[in-house]
Amino acid sequence: MSKASAVELASTPRAGRATRLSFGAAVNAAQRQAMELDENVFVFGIGADGKAGIFGSTAGLKERFSARRVFDTPISEQSLTALAAGAANAGLRPVLVHQRFDFLLYSADQIANWIGPWRYISGGHATMPLTIRAIVGKGWGQGPQHSKSLHSWFAHLPGMQVVMPGSPADAKGLLLSSIFSNDPTLFIEGRSLYAMEEEVPDEPYFIRLGRALVRRPGKDVTLVAIGSLVPGGLEAAEQLAAERIEVEVVDLRTLVPLDLETVLASVGRTGRLVVADPGWRDFGAAAEVIASVCERVGPALKAAPQRVTWPHRYAPTSAPLEAGYYPTSADIVRACKSAVAGI
């Protein structure tokens, strides 16, 4: 990985030539560059070598790197995960792709019993440098078996890194960091972000895992936004600015490691906290962020923290129910307002 180490770990990409890319194209670019940088990187998963290329995110990789390094698989998630683990222990850097988060549940045993503890129980000798990409379906009746986002489950496991990018440029830099991290990483991609476009630096770059990004400064309320709720959070901040409420939007970027420093610094400035988490509320990531903040600066808060999350039920397929199911920027606006009003 000698060439890669020339580029420092940054919290924001360095300037330089950039190209407007969609989220999916940025994920694709990260894998392409990782494979160029390091022969040990390989990409596999159901449909990974197909023409459609998992929503475009792996399109063209097989043509570029051959079937040795990019390949389709049987529908055998548990064993594919074990394959990744064995290969990672042997020094390769596997990237295993799941078209839906839901499908990786067959590999929950591999992740919780083997991959998570691996380095620790080896006395720190062995490593587990693998990346599991999981795409979270949303909308058009994906329903209970194609729309779950169980990031909180896996963030609960010691030894697992959980990454949730909220923009194309972050997706690229965070995926490169995940692939080259020596610890196992669950990299979660909101399908609803796939069409989002922005300028993405051409060169390979690495966004440090565990470094949240203040996407918009504001003095009235801290909004910690996660993954696919980052765009909605920014939209909400924009709307609230028109009503003279200044929202500081902190894009968490990674659940594990959790950048509590950045969150605490922001809450120190605003005294108010809202967390927007694209998952179920109960026992979830938002609860963890709020609890961690309260433990440290609870008494200094000016208002009770608020959560904007999915309701605690399975995603219904019926269109009107589904439309009312996912939180929107309007829900974030409401939560910020009630935080500011102190209720």
Binding site: I46, G50, F71, T73, P74, Q142, S318, E322
Partner: protein, 353 residues
Amino acid sequence: MGQTQAADALALYRMMRLIRRTEEILIAEYHPANEMRCPMHFCVGQEAAPAALSLQLRPDDVIMSHYRSHGYYLAKGAPLDAMIAEFYGKATGSNGGLAGSMELAHHGFHFYSGAIVGGPLGLAVGSAFAQRYRRGGSGISVAVFGDGAMDEGVSYEALNLAALHRLPILFLCENNRYAAHTPAPARAASHDLIARAAAFGVAVRRMPDKNPLELAAAMNVIVADIREGRGPFLLEVETYRFCGHVGPESDDHLDYRPVAEVDAAKASDPLAAMLRLARAAGVADAALEEVDASCDEQVWSAIRAAKAAPFPRFQDLRGIEAANGYAPVVRELIDAAPTRFLGGQAETRLRPY
């Protein structure tokens, strides 16, 4: 023989035709109206197996199906109206609009399906276990799945459990040669699926679906054996999907299967074969025409009803979202001795021990 042959032929043709027309009409209706807002896996070309199965099933039998389930839902005798209403996301749908196509179910007809590959095999084992456990009945369970499910570990655990407990279960594997867009050679080095099941002690057979009458006759013997307690059976049906993997569009532009293969499969359409077989068995043209007309009318009438039906509302779901109570025995015990469960229990009070 002649008369039952004609009756079976007509019944098979009727079911195959109903499934085919349901799928074709839904495919045509899906866009541009976009009123069916759920991913749907159509089974055009694969109608023979569900139709053949439909002749064998009784009300107390259970189907656990994969998501390519529409044919099996109808094969179990569940109402077309409730299925199509479910696709439209309506409160009158068989799942109340909560599931759409991928997890289509009709509890009353013991029909269930889901979109996690391999799951139905395991669930059908549990269902067959319950049928045998209860004794008395002769109900069986049918696991319906594709060749892709034979990639999953859970499938082999299920086959083993079924053989171990000699359960009344039919494993019905629809081998359409592809798992989504992945062909069999990209998924396994050995392609003898039934040999894998046989290795666990499950009785097996492989059959094409080009002669639905023969398929039904074979299933008849297989199902009778299962009912009589001779243990699990895996039937692999060689079939072909004419439509795309998911959604109403063709996906042949993705070049995952040879054009010649698709054309050849369509040229030996099992529904066309069934029509010929029905005529040969002596079914009158008038009867066949009546089937054709009535299938279309049934589908259109179900679509009209679905469109007119109300959507579900969150407030109506509170009942099913609440806790689901306790087994009746708890109520009986409470009524008999209220103090046993309600208060007065020393051990439920906190105290220093």
